[in-house]
Symmetry: C2
Subunit: 288 residues, 2 copies
């Protein structure tokens, strides 16, 4: 089955469970956060690694991919809150708190985090030996001391370690995607961390370039915000052309890090293609 | 080892992990949410059930108890936020958002939820067959459709089912405490649900009585808020004396529900004693 179909099916099954008799507005807020789909880049990466490792337990791989995406969506809901980015729009639609109010946005984020762990426990139930690794991989990428919440919290510190900030806020979930994909397929997970880390860095650089260059219609959210909010941005610091070259070298390093496995060649091609897809359309033609 | 010592040790170990190199203010906000301890009624209940069931895997029981308490603390941090209860104090000290600001309070709640699942995965690592049950028990009590987040979200609905609201907001975590205690000890978990549910109802009634009667110095938070916020309150609806009798009958039903097990008699005495401890001091003397 096509990866995107598997991901949407797994996410829909999770959301359907959450939406079985509870308060309807919270269920709607959670769906609003997850659908319609964005690029689903992290869960596609997770399934690509699982496939490269043999994907002998598709239910576990699907659960890992869904959990990674649910965590990503939860982090967006909370990041958009007025006390953080105060973003009224996301993917061209109202942000969750703008559509449902702050209380339901806080709760939607909370419930999506919980749902991610439920998804793993359901999906990996038949592979209990893989369950702990999947839970710890996803938890490590979202909590303290080095997951998404930690990354976001560096913005509240008087002194910020830029590398630690970006590794936690963006890199951690990319690394979890590759590590969890391998763990779900029963492969040794740690050799897969570098692929996720390098792609996470590439994504961050691409996001920085997009923040500087794109119009609001392309990203579906207000742009140029890094400069407005005095946030670190590689494309502002080193210039667009240097940032593009940096992104290409990160993509090459990612492809080179792929451990020996049956699907290595296909995954290498996919990795380089994905890195190109990260860029805004006009730039990706320039890079092609 | 004494249950309270085990609980504090397990919570400290979890918080120490969270506080290992991440952003210091978020780590401090998480500690502020968990220490100094409150009554720890839910984790004590969890360990009491585990003990009654033989407690053959203390690491798993401690992890389950810690996870239950971490979830409780996370829910308090988010409940206190300005968009919900807007409480400046908690247990006689500044609430987390009052002490650390809203961004770190949102993130502390998020990170405590994640830490709860991590604690289970670490603690039950040697009993993978019990791990999925523990994850699903704690997740079911905190997410959608019938956990704490669902309970809180009923307050945002135009029509509220009072029973469903209280079962989700308060009862679910008590039920999870007894079910997880049994699961951690390898016992059949579901027969233990009623004990937690009845104690959760008793706790809700005691909280309603305390809200009506107590001064701010006793609970460490502003009281009489239910009336001010037009929230349902059994002691307001049926009167203090009827609410007291209702609480006693719930405690008796809880004690009667205890499944046959090696520690049933001790647990029965503990259950009735705990129900009495729920009341404000002057009322518990009246009930004794």
């Amino acid at each position: 089955m096509d990866a995107v179909i598997r991901i949407e099916k797994a996410l829909t099954a999770s959301l359907d469970h959450a939406d079985s008799g509870g308060p309807p507005l919270l269920a709607a807020a959670m769906r609003h956060a997850v659908f319609p789909r964005g690029a689903r880049i992290r869960p596609r990466l997770c399934l690509a690694v699982a496939a490269a490792c043999g994907d002998d337990n598709p239910a576990a791989s699907d659960a890992a991919a869904a959990a990674i995406e649910l965590m990503h969506c939860a982090s967006l809901v909370h990041d958009d809150l007025p006390c953080f980015d105060d973003a009224d729009t996301r993917r061209g639609r109202p942000s969750v708190h703008h559509a449902f109010g702050q209380p339901l946005a806080v709760l939607a984020g909370d419930a999506l985090i919980v749902l991610a762990f439920q998804a793993i426990a359901w999906g990996a139930a038949r592979s209990p030996a893989r369950l702990a690794a999947l839970i710890l991989t996803v938890a490590g990428a979202t909590g303290m001391p080095s997951g998404i919440a930690a990354g976001q919290a560096w913005e509240s510190e008087p002194r910020i370690d830029l590398g630690q900030y970006q590794r936690a806020k963006t890199g951690a979930l990319f690394a979890a995607a590759t590590v969890a994909g391998a763990a779900a397929a029963g492969a040794e997970p740690e050799p897969w961390r570098e692929l996720g880390e390098r792609l996470g860095e590439a994504y961050q650089v691409a996001d920085d370039i997009a923040d500087v260059l794109s119009g609001a219609s392309d990203l579906g959210k207000p742009t140029g915000r890094d400069q407005a909010l005095a946030r670190p941005n590689a494309a502002l610091t080193m210039g667009i052309d240097s940032a593009m070259r940096h992104l290409e070298s990160l993509a090459a390093a990612a492809a080179d890090s792929i451990p020996p496995c049956q699907g290595a060649a296909a995954l290498r091609a996919l990795t380089l293609g994905e890195a190109r897809r990260l860029l805004p359309k006009d730039l990706s033609q320039r890079a092609a």
